[in-house]
C-alpha cells in the first residue's frame, strides 16, 4: 500500500476527518481523511484503490476493535465521520460509475417501535463496509419498506425491534416482503430477537450485533 493510502487508513481508523478536527489528539494539525483523499486523487491514485485498500479495510479494523470491546462507540462514530469526509471527495466517481458500493441496504425499526440506537449502529458499520444505506427511520410500516424495495430491487433489507410487543410486527413485514419479492434477503436484529424467531418468521438471518450484520452482507455480496 502506498504511503498516502497508509496515512488515509490511519486517519479513518483513528477518526481524523479533516485537518481542522481536534480529534484524535495524536494527529492534531495533520491532514485528515478529506485532505488525504484529495491528495491521493491529485496524485492519480485509483479511486477504487482508495476505497478498497484504505477506507473499507480501516473501517473493518474499527468494527473488529469494537466487537472485541477495545473501543467505545464514539471512537467508531469518529471513524465513520472520517470515512464520510473521504467519501465527499469520492462522490463524483460513484456518480460516474467508476466505483460502486457493494450493494444497497434498506434498514428501519419496525412499526410501533421508536428505538433507533441499535439500528443506527448497524447502519454506520454497514456503510463503513462499503454499502449504500437507505435508512427509513423508526416506526416503519410494510408499505414504506415495499416502496423502497421498488426503488432498490436488489437491496438487502434489515429490520430492527427492541420490544417483545413490536417484534411480532416483523412477521407481517417479512410476509409482505416475501409476497412482493420472494427472493429478497431479510436480516433482523434487536434485543428480544433470536435465531428461533428468525426462522419462525421466515427471515434469512439474525444478526446478534452490528459486526455480524456486516459479515453476513459481505458474504452474500462476494
Amino acid at each position: 500500500m502506498s504511503e498516502i493510502l497508509e496515512k488515509l487508513f490511519e486517519a479513518v481508523e483513528f477518526g481524523k476527518a479533516d485537518k481542522a478536527s481536534p480529534f484524535p489528539p495524536q494527529l492534531k494539525g495533520q491532514d485528515g481523511a478529506n485532505e488525504l483523499t484529495k491528495n491521493a486523487l491529485d496524485a492519480d491514485v485509483d479511486p477504487k484503490d482508495i476505497l478498497e485498500q484504505a477506507l473499507i479495510p480501516a473501517m473493518e479494523r474499527v468494527g473488529k476493535k469494537f466487537s472485541e470491546q477495545k473501543i467505545f462507540v464514539p471512537q467508531m462514530l469518529m471513524s465513520a465521520k472520517a470515512m464520510g469526509a473521504s467519501m465527499v471527495q469520492l462522490k463524483p466517481f460513484f456518480a460516474s460509475g467508476k466505483i460502486k458500493e457493494k450493494g444497497t441496504f434498506i434498514i428501519g425499526t419496525v412499526k410501533g417501535d421508536l428505538h433507533d440506537i441499535g439500528k443506527n449502529l448497524v447502519s454506520m458499520i454497514v456503510e463503513g463496509g462499503g454499502w449504500k444505506i437507505v435508512d427509513l427511520g423508526v416506526d416503519v410500516s410494510e408499505d414504506k419498506f415495499l416502496e423502497k424495495i421498488d426503488e432498490y430491487p436488489n437491496a438487502v433489507i434489515g429490520l430492527s425491534a427492541l420490544l417483545t410487543t413490536t417484534m411480532v410486527n416483523m412477521e407481517d413485514i417479512v410476509k409482505a416482503i416475501r409476497t412482493k419479492k420472494p427472493d429478497a434477503r431479510v436480516l433482523i436484529g434487536g434485543a428480544p430477537i433470536n435465531d428461533d424467531f428468525c426462522q419462525k418468521i421466515g427471515a434469512d438471518y439474525y444478526a446478534a450485533d452490528p459486526q455480524k450484520a456486516v459479515e453476513y452482507l459481505n458474504k452474500i455480496a462476494s
Partner: protein, 458 residues
Amino acid sequence: MKYKNLIISSPQELMFGKAPSPVKTRRGLIIGGGQVYSELNFTLPTMSINSNTVKRVNEHYREIAEGALERALHLNSKGVVLEFETLLEMTKTPQIGVDIVSIMNEVCEKYYQKHGLASEIRLTPNDLREFERPAKQRTSELIAPMMELFERGMEAGGDLVSIESTGGKEVSDDALMMCDIKAIMFALSVLGVRDMQFLWKKIVGLANKQGKIAAGDSACGFANTAMVLAEKKYIPKVFAALVRVISVVRSIVAMEEGAVGPDKDCGYEGPFLKAITGIPISMEGKTAACAHFSPIGNIASACTDLWSNESVQNIKLLSGMAPTAYMEQLEYDVRLMNVALKGGDQSCQLFQQLMVDSDVYTDPQALVLAPENVIRISKELLKGDSYVANAKNGALATLDIIEEAIASGQMELSEMETAYLPILREDLNSIPDSESEFIDMMLPLMDQSKFILEEYGL
C-alpha cells in the same frame, strides 16, 4: 430550582423504608412510613394488541394481578403496588388502558375486602410525543390521549400516576452515542427541565382534581439507556454515571410541580430526589435482571421505599407464571428489609452497609448511589442558581468522587474508561452557569432540525 437545602442531610438518615414525607394510599399503604413494600411490574408475552386480541390481553392482566396478589397473600405481604406501565396501543387508544386498570382494580379490591391485603395500581402511560420527530412537545395532538388515559385511568382505580417523559430525547439519543456531555447537559438541564415543567403541571392538576397521587417521573430514556449501553460496553461507565447525576435536575421538576412520590422504579436518580425533597422512592436492582442487566443489584435497595422488578413478561416458568415468581422474589427481599427496620437503627445501618459494600466499588454507577455519595452530590446539585449550574456542579462532584475512588485504590477502571475523565471534566468546565448563555453556546453546535425550540418555550 425550588429546593435550596437537603431534607435529608446525613447519609445515616437516607434509609430504606423511611422517608420524611411518606405517601398514604387509599387502601392504607404508607409508603416511606417505616416499611418497604413490593412494587411488581409486568408486561404481556410476545403478542400483538389489536381488536382480535384485546380480550386475551385483558385476561393476561387479570391473571397477572390474581396470581401476584394470591402469592403476596400466601407470603403474608404487608402491601403491594402493581405498576401498570402501558404498552403504546393502550395509550394511543385510552379505552384499552382504562379497561385494564378497571380489571386490575377489581382484583385489588377483592383481595382488600376479602383478605385485608392492601394493594394499589401505579398507572404509567406512554409519552406518545416520541412518535413525532421533531417532537411537538407542547402542541402535539398526541398529548390528548395521554391525558385522557391519566384522567380516566385514575377514575378506574389508578391511585398513583407516573410517566417516563421524553423531552430532550431528540438530543440525548445521539449525545449518548457520542459521549457528548455538553449535549447531554443541554438535553436534560435545558430541554428536559422545560418539558417536565410543562407536562407535570398538567399531570399534577389532573391528580389533584381526583385526590390521586402524582408520583413522579423517570429519566429512563436517558440515564437507563446510558446504563444499558455501558453494560454492553458501547459507552464508558463513567459517562453513564454522570448522565445519572445530571438527570436529577430534570426529574426533580416533577416534585417542584407538586408530585409527591413514590418516584418511579427505573429512575435510579431516586436516592438524590429522596435526599433533596424527602419523598419516598421506588427502586429496582437485582430483581430487574428479567428486563435488563445492571451494575447496581444490591446498592439500589439501600434507601428505597418500594422494591421493584422493572418488568417481566407473563410467561410460564417451572414454578408458575413469571410475574407471580417475581412477586415472591420481591416479597422475600422486602421481608429482609422490614426485619431490619423492626430491629431499629443499628440493624438497618448494618443491613444497608452490606447492600452498599457489596456493589459500591465495582462500578462508578454503583459508587454514586452509596448514601454518603448521594448526600455529597446532592449538596452540589443545589449550589447553583440555575438547573444548568446545578447539573454541572453535581457532575463535577461525581467526577471528584470517581477519581478519589481510583486514587485510593478502591475502584479499578480500565484505561479505556479513565481516558474519558479529563475530557469530561474539561467539557463540563466549559459550560456557563447561565441557561441563556449555555443555549447560545450550544445551538451553533447542534443539528437544530432535530428539535423545535418553541416547543420547549424557547
